[in-house]
């Protein structure tokens, strides 16, 4: 059951497996309905998690999917592209430390002047990196 997701407009359909059910608004004729479009990124992310039952209770509330919460709770599916690996190896070469996406983003935000001169900044970056790693494991 950790690999099964049910999408249904009536919650009774998965009342025995609420941890596997994603509710969706019943559709009759509204041509501007965008529920399916919104569901795509959520399902793309759910496809990559170990156990869907861990996440579905977090992102479902009051008979609808909380899309904002869903995208926050689930990490974006991302495979390392060729460009990423180049950037990674370059940053490795220049900094001498292994990098992650989180750290890359952090470094990006830090203005050059600040980054250049402080040892403290590096330490804080590293601690950020550790925290982020723990976070992603949890």
């Amino acid at each position: 059951m950790k690999d099964v997701i049910i999408v249904d407009n009536s919650p009774q359909a998965y009342s025995w497996q609420t941890e596997n059910g994603l509710p969706i608004i019943s559709w009759f004729e509204d041509p501007r309905d965008d529920q399916l479009r919104k569901l795509v990124p959520v399902l793309e992310r759910l496809a990559q998690v170990e156990d869907v039952r861990e996440f579905i209770p977090q992102i479902v509330g009051r008979n609808s999917v909380n899309f904002y919460e869903a995208l926050r709770a689930l990490k974006a599916p991302r495979e390392e592209s060729a460009l990423d690996s180049v950037i990674n190896s370059l940053t490795k070469f220049f900094s001498g430390t292994p990098t992650t996406e989180n750290q890359k983003k952090e470094e990006y935000k830090v203005p050059k002047t600040v980054r250049r001169n402080t040892e403290d900044n590096k330490v804080s970056l590293n601690s950020d990196f550790i925290v982020n790693q723990n976070f992603s494991k949890a």
Binding site: V4, D8, N9, S26, E29, P31, Q35, L43, A47
Partner: protein, 138 residues
């Protein structure tokens, strides 16, 4: 019809049973290409499509599909089907990352031609219809 149905898998032969019994496997084991994928169960009516026996009144939206279905007792009926916005692209995207199972409480004679039309890219979804349903408090 037989050519079409060979593309879609359906499990038959379901006897009366209660939910407490050990349920048999409705779904065939995953084929090689689907191995390791999660299963996405989608409802048909009011989730992917909306269908009606009444022809649309003037001024109402034109139906996307009109099906001529045959009931088990031999009677024929027209069904007017509206497809939910983004349903096609949704199915295509989901079929890339999930084993997609389309579930409906209505009859197979209605589900099969409808899903054949929804499946523009010949993906071949698994269908669960009324024959595989267990009647509870009905």
């Amino acid at each position: 019809m037989s050519e079409i149905s060979s593309k879609y898998t359906e499990r038959s032969s379901v006897a009366q049973r209660t939910p407490s019994d050990n349920l048999p496997d409705f779904l065939a084991e995953q084929t090689k290409s689907m191995k390791g994928r999660k299963t996405l169960v989608l409802d048909l009516d009011e989730t992917l499509v909306h269908s009606s026996f009444k022809p649309p009144r003037p001024g109402q939206r034109r139906p996307d599909l009109i099906l001529n279905i045959e009931w088990d007792n031999g009677e024929k009926d027209y069904v007017f089907v509206n497809v939910r916005p983004n349903a096609f692209i949704f199915l295509v995207k989901m079929a890339k990352i999930y084993e997609v199972v389309i579930f409906t409480a209505s009859i197979y004679n209605y589900a099969l031609p409808l899903i054949t039309r929804l499946d523009k890219r010949d993906i071949g979804f698994t269908i669960l219809s009324r024959r595989q349903c267990t009647l509870i408090n009905g």
